[in-house]
Symmetry: C2
Subunit: 83 residues, 2 copies
């Protein structure tokens, strides 16, 4: 089952990478307000149901993929064509 | 207008970060196949229509946010509540 995890810096947490991106975009002439940079992980998970996949991926996020002190994560399970 | 850009390594491009993540997850005992790591950028764009925002963000991706040789990007415009 294909799963995508989105990891973002929590609101209020300083995001120097995002500030650099925002500054560079404005230097290039683009009209942007804030920019925040996070990461995404596309995974192929061995699971038979979406619930099982979500449960497993939550464990992965807590143990490896996200730093819960400063990052929040979101899990998206890709619907297979008429599973 | 809130826009999110998803940047992923193109298929066939080596992704050492993804391989490291996949290896670590398997070491932790998770049953995962491939893992690929990309990034996401949340932007606040000054634009009046979704089309205008998309056009601007495409320019941003080509000029700064993605490396077109090895990365593909996807743009998601967040629908404001009944704009």
């Amino acid at each position: 089952m294909k799963v995508t995890v989105f990891v973002r810096p929590k609101a209020g947490i300083l995001d120097p990478q995002g500030e650099a991106v925002g500054g560079s975009l404005r230097t290039l002439g683009f009209a942007v307000g804030g920019a925040r940079v996070g990461r995404l992980v596309d995974l192929e998970v061995d699971a038979t149901t979406a619930d099982e996949a979500r449960f497993q991926v939550e464990q992965m996020c807590e143990q490896l993929l996200a730093n819960p002190l400063i990052e929040s994560f979101e899990i998206e399970i890709e619907r297979e064509a008429a599973a």
